[in-house]
Symmetry: C2
Subunit: 381 residues, 2 copies
């Protein structure tokens, strides 16, 4: 147990709304419903008090950190939730397997439900929560985290289902872990609590994306503040553009959802949405998703692609809309943001290149795509 | 470590041949090729020496016993074998998870490969091996052991693959364990080493089938001795009939294999064999198997059914023939033996009733079926 920590964030109830909203944006359509996460979180904070949220610089080098998350299909996760006992057991099993205590928790992904679940876990366990995560967004698979890109082992990796059945996986590769875990998650009804990627703080300093809890709160607050001034999506884009983690963002499209197809395949929500421009033109935007939004193409032209962030938000209030909440006829904006730098290294792209998601395109950074689109518009005007 | 044990069996090289042959009979067509098991065993005994094979009465009440086995499809197990390191790691993971040493090993099933693998494991670990198993034969699924019928937890349950990936499962039901493990075994290429059902010796005394290693050796020796006198299958039937574990056996059929269909489904070798009588009549026998032989029907009439034992042996030398070695045109006998008493209790039949294997028939004990067949013959003569 690490004493005398000073929490860099204390999430008030208003903050929790903002935090969940910011995390929903960073979930890029996936990561589960942030509102459910917020409710779970509020209940845990009331019962167990606020966990300390700390920077990696506040922890000793040899302190042990691990992530806690929910894993499965967002649609199922939404219905089932967590009991809390599953979270406790996941942590207990991990510590038993490690033969040492875990000193602090972190988020696997700052997107959606998995940004708030670690708050619940930290509150219940009385452990500090690190202001960092493994993606700076949400991704569908376990090998898609900076820890893996930097060579940290994904295992021991623990899974617990609602009946408190548990599985501990040890492998030599995160891809193998993903295969075992995804299959077991199907057996667990596509809803389970997981804990994994245990690593020491000194490794975590270069193998996570720091300050993403702070970022989520900041983005959520920007949207809220923007609503007062009637410019919520612009405020969001400004906050993203001035972020040390993201640094660049733009509105890709504005329109209404004209076609929508969602199915559950291999334990994922997959499908696409087609948007028609609300500006009277014949422009359409197609978004393809696998839990998260993967690519946005306007009349066939690439506008944004994974690992950059693509999120659909409400046209009026810029509320981020998870994939499973998209509806025919919804009026929306599509906001894209540059991926955090650790997601675009050659080693990272081995695991999160567009082809890893079954897409044919190369990864072209958002800013470059915007430049090309502008040049194309300039040449036709 | 339990000291001063006196081994009740010391398996010489000749004994190993007999033991493997007896275990192949008890494998009722499944459990993997006994010859591969014997080779692994010989190598381990040469390198590590003979483990002590002891009765449960020789061990203290609170000593911890667990089984070690291979799990997967016999056809794949045959090709891949075990490295030994996988066996060691399975035991290590189990002990870590239990937080205490395992004091003795046992066989999950006395049939085929899984009768000899525990000898390898015990030799490598320097642990005594208990003269008992969980089935007194072979069965395809993890809930089909006396430990489960008697309420012993199947978990912690450990799996290790050839790459030394490992999985530890904890559940509240053996059926759930089977589901998790079978799915993971498919991911592991249908070949892995497992350890599970840890239990204390006082529980093991009523929750295993004792003396089955001794029985396997006895049956194998009977076949060998019978060959000298030209009556090997008769000698086998006599040895089974005088056994305190089985107590009744008969020759069900003699003929040649006229039709054979084998496929791998859901991780099992499934299929059927049809035999034509070699006595010139139009009688045929159909055998259906799922790894193990499940039912034998003569011209549609039930002759033997699971949990009773049904094994195909060579017509000349009574060598047991595993399912995967059946060939068109082979001349064989079909020998059936009564299941050990713990397999026919109401609680046991919840898990190993014919319907658990997809069969429509009720369980009718072999001896009763033989009586009916005799009565029918008497009435038509």
């Amino acid at each position: 147990m690490i004493d005398n920590l000073r929490s860099k964030l204390v999430l008030s109830e208003a903050d929790l709304h903002d935090f969940a909203r910011g995390a929903a944006f960073l979930g890029t359509g996936g990561g589960g419903d942030p509102y459910l996460g917020r409710l779970l979180c509020q209940a845990a904070l009331q019962e167990y008090g606020h966990p300390q949220i700390v920077g990696l610089d506040q922890l000793p080098d040899d302190a042990m950190v691990a992530f806690v998350a929910m894993l499965g299909a967002p649609t199922v996760l939404l219905e089932k939730g967590v009991s809390g006992l599953d979270v406790d057991l996941a942590l207990q099993r991990l510590q038993e397997r490690l033969g040492r205590p875990v000193d602090a928790l972190m988020s696997a992904e700052i997107g959606g439900l998995n940004s708030t679940l670690p708050i619940v876990a930290a509150a219940r366990a009385g452990l500090p929560l690190v202001d960092a995560d493994g993606m700076g967004r949400a991704f569908p698979e376990l090998q898609m985290v900076v820890m893996n890109f930097e060579g940290v082992s994904s295992t021991p990796f623990v899974m617990v289902d609602e009946h408190l059945n548990s599985i501990i996986v040890d492998t030599h590769s995160a891809v193998r872990t993903e295969q075992f875990v995804r299959l077991a998650a199907m057996q667990m009804g596509l809803s389970c609590v997981v804990a994994g990627y245990p690593l020491t703080v000194d490794r975590a300093r270069t193998a996570t994306i720091p300050n993403t809890m702070t970022e989520a709160l900041r983005l959520g607050r920007a949207i809220a503040a923007g609503r007062s001034s009637g410019r919520p999506s612009e405020a969001l884009i400004e906050a993203l553009s001035s972020s040390s983690v993201y640094g660049y963002a733009l509105e890709v499209f504005e329109g209404k959802i004209a076609d929508l197809r969602r199915t559950t395949e291999g334990g994922f929500n997959v499908g696409y949405a087609t948007l028609e421009s609300s500006r009277g033109s014949s422009r359409t935007l197609e978004i393809i998703f696998q839990n998260e939004n993967l690519v946005a193409r306007e009349n066939g032209e690439l506008r944004a692609i994974v690992p950059d962030l693509i999120t659909v938000v409400d046209q009026e209030n810029a509320e981020p809309i998870p994939t499973e909440s998209l509806r025919y006829g919804q009026r929306v904006k599509v906001i894209a943001a540059a991926a955090p730098a650790p997601l675009t290294t050659p080693r990272a792209l081995e695991f999160i290149h567009p082809r890893c998601f079954g897409l044919d395109e190369e990864y072209i950074p958002l800013e470059e795509l915007a430049r090309r689109a502008q040049a194309s518009r300039d040449s036709t005007e």
